[in-house]
């Protein structure tokens, strides 16, 4: 049995008088693709933000590779997000002034990789995510599905250990969303990247290895028996 690569233990977080998380626990093993589901307002995105070190819980722990990240100062959590995590969100992720390949190369450039090398590495993802020929386009010249696949490439280009995806297909139609999920999960599995995916859509969650249901700020990780574990 592998150790969890990322884990929330009894995490609590309130926004003013509203308790978003009320003792949420979730452990994700290395290489797993886990879908975090739940009704809107259940706390699923807040849990993702805590796991990714974007938000700091009021109580409880968040561990990454056996180390508590909720105790780190923002500068170190920011470095962690840049160096070890990848992100795909629902909307407005691409920098409109940059071309698609510059957008994909961005995490590498921020990590100090030289421009030429970064762009070369970025281009390697275009064929894989069915984006051939779109390298020079700006985000306004891409369809929703294409832009989202560029965002997936950007999330994975730096070889993150964990990819956090928050409603990555939320703005797409059914077919476009399925294609994004297909490419996202197969690329992550090939690279051995752990994926924490927030979605309210069962068809999207079905691409994950298992699901965790968040309800009223608590995780219900019920699963049916899958035989050998």
């Amino acid at each position: 049995m592998t150790e969890p690569v990322i884990e929330a233990r009894d995490v609590r977080l309130s926004f003013g008088a509203t308790e978003a998380l009320r003792g949420a626990s979730l452990a994700v093993n290395a290489g797993e693709v886990v879908a975090v589901m739940g009704p809107s307002g259940s706390g699923k995105s807040t849990l993702l933000h805590c796991l990714a070190g974007i938000l700091v819980p009021d109580a409880g722990q968040v561990q990454f590779s056996g180390r508590r990240i909720d105790l780190l100062p923002e500068s170190q959590r920011s470095a962690l997000r840049r160096d070890r995590f990848g992100f795909v969100f629902q909307f407005g992720q691409l920098v409109p002034e940059l071309t698609a390949e510059e957008n994909v190369a961005l995490p590498l450039l921020l990590n100090g990789v030289r421009r030429r090398e970064a762009l070369e590495k970025a281009r390697g993802w275009f064929d894989r995510l069915e984006l051939d020929g779109l390298e020079g386009r700006r985000s306004g010249e891409l369809s929703g599905g294409q832009a989202q696949r560029v965002a997936v490439a950007r999330g994975l280009v730096a070889g993150p250990e964990v990819l956090f995806a928050d409603e990555p297909t939320g703005s797409l139609d059914s077919l476009g969303g399925e294609r994004v999920m297909e490419l996202l999960t197969s690329a992550a599995r090939d690279a051995g990247t752990t994926v924490v995916l927030v979605t309210h859509e069962a068809r999207v969650a079905a691409y994950a290895d298992r699901e965790a249901i968040v309800r009223d700020g608590v995780v219900h990780a019920l699963t049916v028996d899958r035989g050998a574990s």
Binding site: A202, R203, A206, Y207, I213, H220, T223, V224
Partner: protein
């Protein structure tokens, strides 16, 4: 109707019809030979196919079947008729929820288990969709959409359990 539709492609022997049926529509449940021949006999009786003369050779099936004008028209009509849009409410699922509430059992837990089972099946179908041929994918899609509809019902029911409990416990 499916066998008649297969015959609309080209005249065929019973054995070939069964083989094609199993490949495209059987889904792990092969059609028994007996059913193929009884269906063909009925279609012949009703004037929808014509059975040729028995051909010499070994084996039970040496007849070639040809679709008639009447049969072809029926296939044509059938293919353009929408299937009755039934709600497909899973009665067992419904009964379990209502009985759980009536008997003060943990309906929410049951719904969580049902949701997990549905999602597991959806994962299996997603894999079929990903790795299978186009016909398999089409069938998997149909299953996925139906399971998704059930899941919506499960989620809605979960959210309304308190009110439902009041309604059924009177």
């Amino acid at each position: 109707m499916t066998l008649l539709g297969l015959l609309d492609r080209a005249p065929s022997h019973g054995y070939d019809l069964k083989r094609d049926y199993d490949a495209f529509f059987g889904r792990g449940k092969p059609l028994p030979f007996g059913q193929v021949y009884s269906t063909l006999a009925r279609l012949a009786r009703d004037g929808k196919v014509l059975a040729g003369e028995a051909e010499p050779g070994a084996g039970p099936d040496r007849k070639r079947y040809v679709i008639t004008e009447q049969g072809a028209t029926e296939v044509e009509t059938w293919l353009t008729e929408p299937v009755e849009p039934e709600p497909h409410l899973q009665t067992t699922l419904f009964a379990k929820v209502v009985l759980s509430l009536m008997l003060d059992r943990p309906a929410e837990h049951y719904l969580d288990l049902q949701r997990a089972a549905h999602l597991q099946r959806m994962r299996e179908l997603t894999e079929v969709r990903r790795t299978g041929n186009q016909v398999d994918a089409l069938l998997a899609d149909h299953g996925l959409f139906h399971l998704e509809a059930d899941l919506r019902w499960i989620d809605l029911t979960s959210a309304r359990l308190d009110n439902l409990a009041k309604a059924v416990r009177r």
